[in-house]
Symmetry: C2
Subunit: 343 residues, 2 copies
DNA sequence: GCCCATGCTGCAAGCGTTTCCATAAACAGT
DNA sequence: ACTGTTTATGGAAACGCTTGCAGCATGGGC
């Protein structure tokens, strides 16, 4: 292994100077810096991050905890975070909690406390107060993505507003019999996501003076199959059939479209469908939707952490950690699955 | 921070003994171990992995490099690897190469060389010889998932056999006009995956004495849209229409099913469709397919690495690193998208 | 009863950086 | 010319753990 002392010898300076020259901490004569840099390049020297971390207390590594990885949303958040971190010279160590309670405990009791990460990003995770305090006690910044976390800076899209936007789009088109397919209570990963979207839906209806009829709401799994089955029920009986469906996710919405087709209905002529996410397959199905931008959320989370880490090292008190909850953008995307109701 | 010396004092032993007691390296009297363990628990001591790594040379961390993350296959491999690593007390640091050439360079020149990982798993990545040598020079075991890598233990499914299995399933059902939708050349991520699947398809036909007609092959994107468009062309003209389609991926196959429906054809009555992957949505669409098991691949990769790391530390020469290419299982899954051809 | 294994334990030397402090050099002000 | 600053550099002490080596009991064989 080529260590810092090799570089030092090669460049005719001390290890202290090499460290300063390469890290940019502390004053170094321009000429010296150049000598050191070329020596390092010549020897193919790469600093050992362990030694560096041990000595400096900075890990240059941040932990990302997700409940699952093979869902489009989570994977995209992680991907966004990864690129952003890489640009900042940070590593990303990934923890997923698929393993259940045991995995979760082990992540929090063991992995995150080992001084291996400078901070953590929790994606769609409802942390217990204990878990939060624990991390704070170690002085590790924490940011949440999706869902407000008590006392933790968090990125969220305003689910109520999202749902309202989608529903209002349908209302604007002239629909009045608008159904909603939401998540059932069991799907509690994402905080109150299902509930909030339902609220937004109801608020939009109320705002337009449309009565909210309970038979137009169907809870379902957050999957195509869930959406499909719910839509089958909603659209099954021709009398009193809704003319539009707002599904709480794109996958569900796609399920709706397929169900409609199977029932011989044409989307959007007979029934309009709108979802939420702008899932990668939304375009293919011509699905109108409200986009949220998971990569951007990952990147933003990183940005916040970088600021906090910098502030922390600058000795700034934990005072103005900024707005605790920063609201992420969303956007109505109209494709071919929504139109005026049949006359 | 509560360090090892605090625990030592608390338990009335030396730091050396604490280290041995908690890590299990070296002999410790049972009574002592218990004293140490309870002291550690009481103080909430967690060893600093940096210090530990620096002193021992073991990082307890392995790097996983993927080209993308938000694709089902990659995410699943990573998820499998993550769980397996967690069970072994290892961290997973993730690198994705979405950033393009620059990202790739920075990963290999910088990140992986910093003594932060004990080994690396490369998923569907054609590493250059330089990259491989570089890692080997550092003594870092490397295993590839998907696609043989020169001189590197690799997990692959036999794509030719997979394609043959799928095609033979169709042949067994009585089909003779069997089309294939494969990947185009540009899709070179996965080594020769498209080509191999095409070979397997042709081999199966040849084996059954069926002529391979070029107009029954369509290259396309590895997406639903790609499969949809290709299927539209294949199924468009009623005369000489194929009675079955073997698509090189489930997403493409789903596209086929949708295309068939849009053309007024019933699957599998008018046309059978089979894919490859057992994608999470295959079940919903009733798609017959050849499953490969990405999580299992991730886990297996970890298993191989664990063995190699152990062997390495045992001072075993690099001799019998085992079969360089271990073949992963696959399995025909028959659902409702394949049946006998129309008579 | 003595000596030699045997098995636990403690001492202390690293591991490869960073950073505090001291030193030295260079320069400005008087 | 002399002190007072300022700036670049080197020496050396951390950082928190692991591990080789030596020491010291303890127990068994003769």
């Amino acid at each position: 292994m080529v260590g810092i002392s090799d570089v030092a010898r090669h460049a005719g300076v001390s290890t202290a100077t090499v460290s300063r020259a390469l890290s940019g901490n502390g004053p170094v004569l321009a000429a010296t810096r150049i000598r050191v840099e070329s020596a390092a390049r010549e020897l193919g020297y790469v600093p050992s991050s362990n030694a560096s971390s041990l000595a400096s207390g900075r890990m240059k590594n941040i932990g990302v905890v997700v409940p699952f990885l093979n869902r489009w949303f989570f994977a995209s958040v992680v991907e966004g975070a990864q690129s952003a971190l890489q640009r900042n010279g940070y590593d990303l160590t990934l923890y997923n909690l698929t393993g259940g309670t045991e995995a979760r405990r082990s992540v929090f009791e063991h992995f995150l406390l080992r001084q291996r990460v400078d901070a953590v990003i929790a994606v769609s995770l409802e942390l217990t107060e204990n878990e939060v305090t624990r991390l704070h006690a170690l002085g590790k910044p924490l940011v949440g993505v999706g869902g407000p976390l008590l006392g933790v800076p968090t990125l969220t899209v305003d689910d109520i507003a999202v749902a309202r936007l989608a529903t209002e789009h349908l209302i604007t088109l002239g629909h009045t019999r608008i159904a909603h397919i939401g998540g059932d209570k069991a799907f509690d990963l994402d905080f109150n996501l299902p509930t909030n979207r339902r609220f937004g839906y109801q608020a939009a209806l109320a705002g337009a003076g449309i009565e909210v009829s309970p038979e137009l709401y169907k809870p379902a799994d957050f999957t195509m199959r869930g959406g499909y089955q719910a839509a089958k029920q909603l659209l099954g009986s021709p009398h009193e059939r809704p003319t539009a469906i707002f599904a709480a996710s794109d996958e569900m919405a796609i399920g709706c479209i397929l169900a409609a087709r199977d029932l011989g209905l044409v989307v959007p002529r007979d029934v309009s469908v709108i979802g939420v996410d702008d899932h990668e397959q939304a375009g293919f199905f011509g699905l109108s939707t409200v986009a949220q931008f998971p990569e951007a959320q990952g990147e933003k989370a990183v940005e916040i952490l970088m600021n906090e880490l910098q502030a922390g090292s600058a000795g700034v008190a934990d005072a103005g950690t900024g707005a605790l909850n920063t609201s992420m953008p969303f956007e109505l995307i109209v494709r071919d699955s929504t139109a005026c109701p049949p006359s």
